[in-house]
Subunit: 347 residues, 2 copies
């Protein structure tokens, strides 16, 4: 019986996620039709957002938002959770489009980034002005449009959930800035890097979506347990991200690896390594980073193995945080399984 329940919750979650996908498609198709009617160019931004959304992605934030909602006893038939989770995915699309400009990343979800594609089109057509400014301008506006769409989908939220939404959207921008600033200034401060990771990855990807779902379901009492689960799993998520970038496989990742190192990004992984290993510290304190030497040293020092152990401990802490949580046992197990998938993924 417990087994049946266990088998039951994932299909329930996947069914809501399926409706989230249909909501995204219907919303974006309607916008495309509306603006294409004005002028052929009217749909260019909508298409940029749609292409990114359709290119896939882990749908991590909708997954945790929907799980938080259902684990808290929310009604699966409530359309607000569908709009809310669809909105979160558009917040994420906007962040990715803008981040790729900030990081000068050319590839996203296995395809050219928005700014890359439009810079190339401008050059190929020999249009007026600078191709880079045009391409990055299109990306800025496409990201802005995705934010406006997210905001429209979130309009359905009642005040308490709306509050969580506002915290989530603010934290991700501030965290993104600190990430960029720390990279530019070459700050090697593990505490600050950890805070940035917690803010822009942990809270944004896991903790706040869970809290948002639970709050929409009218269960703010779950905030504490979800916060502990989310912060621990969020750090594991970020460390896995850093490991994939530092030592991962580009084909599996669907985006360039080694990119953070090339960008002098003081990732959580690197900040911890710099604190623990003098060779790594010397390498990151150099005016120009020797990426291959850094990657080799991270493995040779046994540090990547240590990080794997740290990820194990964080996953245990995340799962432990749910033990006392007043939620159905099936959902406790489902969230524990999701923790394993997030912490031990290869992309």
């Amino acid at each position: 019986m417990t087994e049946t329940t266990t088998l039951g919750v994932r299909p329930l979650r996947l069914d809501v996620i399926e409706r989230v996908e249909r909501r995204l498609t219907a919303f974006l198709d309607a916008e495309r039709e509306r603006w294409a009617a004005v002028d052929g160019r009217g749909a260019v931004l909508v298409d940029a957002v749609t292409d990114l959304v359709r290119a896939g992605g882990k749908r991590l934030r909708p997954a945790f938002c929907v799980s938080g909602f259902l684990a808290a006893g929310g009604d699966p038939a409530d359309e607000r959770i569908v709009d809310c989770a669809a909105g979160l995915e558009l917040v994420h699309a906007s962040a990715l489009i803008h981040d790729d400009v900030l990081d000068d990343a050319e590839l996203r979800r296995g395809k050219p980034a928005v700014h890359t594609r439009h810079t190339a089109e401008h050059a190929a057509r020999g249009w007026h002005g600078e191709s880079r400014r045009y391409g990055e301008g299109v990306a800025i506006l496409a990201g802005d449009l995705a934010t406006m769409y997210a905001d429209r989908l979130a309009a359905c939220l009642p005040p308490a959930a709306r509050q969580v939404w506002g915290v989530l959207t603010t934290e991700v921008v501030i965290g993104q800035y600190l990430d960029v600033a720390v990279a530019a200034e070459g700050v090697a401060d593990p505490e600050l890097s950890r805070w940035v990771a917690v803010c822009k990855s942990g809270r944004y990807s896991i903790h706040r979506p869970l809290e948002l779902g639970a709050t929409l379901a009218g269960r703010p009492d779950l905030a504490g347990a979800f916060a502990e689960y989310g912060e621990a799993l969020g750090e594991a998520f970020q460390l896995r991200d850093d490991l994939i970038d530092a030592c991962g496989d580009q084909a599996a990742a669907g985006k360039p690896v080694g990119h953070d190192l090339a960008q002098h990004k003081m990732t959580l992984l690197l900040a911890l390594a710099a604190r623990r290993d003098e060779e790594v510290r010397a390498l990151v304190e150099a005016p120009r980073w020797d990426v291959d030497a850094l990657r080799e040293r991270l493995v040779a020092s046994g540090f990547t193995a240590e990080i794997e152990r740290r990820i194990d401990a964080l996953v245990d802490r995340a799962r432990g945080a749910l033990e006392a949580a007043p939620i159905d046992g099936a959902w406790r197990r489902e969230l524990a399984d999701m923790a394993l998938e997030v912490a031990y993924r290869d992309r």
Copy 2:
């Protein structure tokens, strides 16, 4: 008696606008305090937004939003109109910060644009990476933050007003993109340029803020009259903008003039001139524009004088649209006065 009423409505509007200013200050100060506590860098984006808001600006959108609300009989004590108008000003701050990156504009409200200041700081401090990418990255994130703040302030809106807000924020982004695309492709299509002007200036600056205020006051029946007033005055507003850029005084404008011409911007003014005057058409069809020759020809052809007459006619149409509108006579006169101020300004 009528006179007293006339004298009465402007102080009423200015009192609400004063509360809007205080709301903006309190909101931004609270955010600054919150993020500065995390790290010294935490407040950099908040400061970028705050500096722009404090640098002045016409507060046109709050003015029309508040006027639409009060003219529709809204309660001046209703705090939602204060949050709503403050949110509109932050939508505008975001648009300006991002537009200055798109247009590579170095000056805004008489001060360096966000991207300009941060590009210069990066260079001066010799930080890692490319100064331009850093400075423009900070501007992208500062604009994003202003949007998130606007969204949080708009959370107070009931569904009908929320709907108008969503239309306004979408239209401005699409209009902005079409503006950029038309400039890059060198399209001389007066109808498309007129649509862009109507969408990104008219509707965004006047029509939608008025409609938003009236809808918040529970008077959607005013939408028609406000639409006619807003579209006519919006076109006059845009033509004045174009005249200021083409022939205006930089000191008065507080921003570089001649910028649209230098950027190959097919403004409404230029699109109309190109249709009417062969010399102008030849000048805008040249691969590189001769800005001085264009400016001279616009005046010599008597076209700027013709545009002044067109502005007069649009102002008459805007004022006429209010004659039958079911609003207090004092507000009819106040909106008529506002039309004169918008259409005949020098900045």
